[in-house]
């Protein structure tokens, strides 16, 4: 699979847990991501959700998506129009949930990306790269394991299972 995505970096810190991405108390009231997206990352910054524009990328540090395995953390990010999360590292449950829903988890050294930087994410035969156009730096990202690349190429786990998956 290959694609090119362009967008603006929205930088958050290390150890962004899924409760910070969307609070458990919010998902108690609804599972509608179109409603929940207005509370995206509210614990980190109450003004964040309103400032997100479709096409933005989330850029985290270490251990993005740690804590609860709640999948809605990945789907709320997608609902906000964010198609990729770039981070130095990801919690395993968030990484799976992202791929299963077609949200791209891009693992690379994110330390040289600043708020508002213009990024181009390219996935192709040569792997995944993150081009920071604002700084003139191109970062190599880790390749996805083949199983995950297959799920992503299918459009997510729903379609992957519908096609017969590993049965």
């Amino acid at each position: 699979m290959s694609f090119v995505l362009q967008g603006r970096a929205r930088v958050v810190g290390d150890d962004i847990n899924t409760d910070y991405i969307i609070a458990s108390t919010r998902k108690r009231d609804t599972l509608d991501e179109q409603v929940l997206k207005q509370y995206l990352l509210e614990t980190v910054d109450p003004a964040f959700a309103a400032s997100v524009r479709p096409g933005d990328f989330l850029v985290g540090g270490m251990n993005f998506g740690c804590g609860s395995a709640m999948e809605i953390a990945a789907t709320v990010i997608l609902a906000a129009g964010i198609k990729a999360v770039v981070a130095r590292s990801f919690s395993r449950t968030f990484f799976r949930n992202a791929v299963n829903n077609g949200l791209l988890p891009i693992e690379c050294d994110s330390s040289a990306i600043a708020e508002g930087d213009r990024l181009t994410i390219t996935m192709g035969d040569e792997g995944i790269t993150v081009d920071n156009r604002s700084r003139g730096v191109t970062l190599a990202a880790h390749a996805l394991p083949p199983m995950m690349a297959g799920i992503l190429a299918a459009g997510g786990l729903v379609e992957y299972v519908r096609r017969g998956a590993w049965r």
Binding site: A23, S24, S68, S91
Partner: protein
């Protein structure tokens, strides 16, 4: 001669039929699939979107209504109705409201056996690793796929060997050991990895103690946290299951990614300070911190021994809850609840002023039960103290052992439980 394997490599080899080695990706058959009321509604959505019209084996799936127990809003009641309808339709066992937290009820019912592979749509599914098995948390979509296919793909994790040495001093609990462990490992020190427990200290830990260590392991990102099989597991299962499963031990010479040693005898009480379970200090560094709310419960600190520890400290400290302090008591399961009723523990705690709530996740993640007020300080036996975790972003949550929580309940301040003669 085959290359030595870790417990994870052995279990995942058996479950996949492949020669599973750390780093490999294998497709495994699952022995038990666990859903909850928090992850369940989304799982049912995925199940339907995947075209699911049958489950692979209803006897290998359970659902637990534990996060909204009892439901406090029409919406959460509707989540429960949806999960109940799904389980009825497919003949799946349901632990209804009041039965307790899945991580406690599954072992209690003898559903977690050595050598097995369990996936649950909840990060604290790792708790069951105390019973010498591979249990790991997944999201709702993976859970749905596992319900349909009976299988899950897993990357075989590297293993960190955790050697436990020494005997616990009086006043020190498994929670103190667990907090010291996740502090040493850091917030992602065990990410993608299994913790395998070794050493003479293991035999000193009861199964309830081991649940606490396996449970907290996920706060360092652990994929699984597995204890060896021994007599403690055998006696735990004797009254709960007709089968013992298959004990699994790692081979001599198995490859460990990293090794850490915890000297239990040298440990002192620990406290995780706001807002991370990995931000752990010696309790004496925060002695005297005023507290407003004490929470005794959860899949970390809601077992019978935890309430016994707490009661003993309270009784030795005047037998009452300090003025202005709210003490919330939430047994992890109905079995725990009934035992605490039968032995008089709950009556004593209630007379001291405790609020006793429905077995389940309770106040842990702000989904049911008491929510702390603005700017209040909470000391809790839970596993997570992220900002807003309990439903109020202005609250400050500290995590400690049941004994330390009880000492603070008695005095209104963080207090060394060892200073209370029990």
């Amino acid at each position: 001669m085959t290359t030595p394997k870790t417990i994870s490599e052995k279990i995942l080899s058996t479950k996949s039929g492949a020669d599973a080695r750390a780093g490999d990706i294998v497709v495994c058959s699952v022995d038990l699939v666990i859903g909850t009321d928090a992850s369940g509604p989304m799982s049912i959505d995925y199940f339907e979107r995947m075209g699911g019209n049958a489950v692979f084996d209803p006897s290998r799936i359970v659902f637990s209504l534990d996060h909204y127990s009892p439901p406090s809003t029409p919406k959460t009641a509707a989540f429960h109705a949806r999960v109940r309808a799904f389980t009825q339709r497919y003949g799946i066992e349901l632990f209804d409201v009041g039965e307790g937290i899945s991580h406690q009820v599954v072992p209690e019912r003898g559903r977690a056996l050595p050598g097995s592979l369990i996936v649950g749509a909840d990060s604290h599914t790792v708790t069951c690793g105390a019973l010498n098995l591979f249990a790991t948390g997944v999201g709702s979509s993976d859970l749905a796929a596992a319900m349909i296919t009976g299988r899950i793909w897993l990357r075989v994790p590297e293993t960190i060997k955790v050697t436990l040495n020494g005997r616990r001093a009086a006043g020190l609990s498994a929670k103190d050991i667990a907090l010291a462990m996740v502090a040493e490992l850091g917030a992602e020190g065990a990410n993608y990895r299994t913790l395998e427990f070794h050493g003479p200290g293991v035999a000193e830990l009861t199964l309830d103690d081991r649940f606490v260590l396996s449970n907290l392991a996920v706060e360092s990102g652990a994929k699984a946290a597995i204890f060896p099989a021994d007599d403690a597991i055998e006696s735990y299962l004797a009254e709960r299951s007709a089968s013992f499963g298959t004990a699994v031990r790692s081979d001599a010479g198995a490859t460990f990614d990293r090794e850490i040693t915890i000297a239990i005898d040298a440990l002192t009480p620990r406290v995780a300070i706001p807002h991370s379970p990995n931000d752990v200090v010696a309790l004496e560094q925060v002695i005297g911190t005023p507290v407003d709310m004490i929470f005794l419960g959860t899949c970390t600190g809601g077992r019978v021994v935890d309430f016994h520890d707490a009661l003993a400290v309270l009784e030795a400290n005047g037998g009452r809850v300090a003025d202005g302090v709210q003490l919330v008591v939430t047994p992890a399961s109905r079995e725990v609840y009934l035992r605490l009723i039968d032995d008089g523990t709950l009556a004593k705690l209630a007379r001291m002023g405790a609020i006793v709530t429905t077995p389940g996740c309770g106040a842990c993640c702000g989904t049911s039960g008491a929510i702390p007020g603005d700017n209040k300080t909470v000391l809790s036996t839970a596993n997570r103290n992220f900002k807003a975790r309990m439903g109020n972003a202005t609250a400050r949550i500290y995590l400690a052992s049941p004994a330390a929580c009880a000492a603070a309940a008695a005095t209104g301040r963080i207090t060394d439980p060892r200073s209370v003669v029990v």
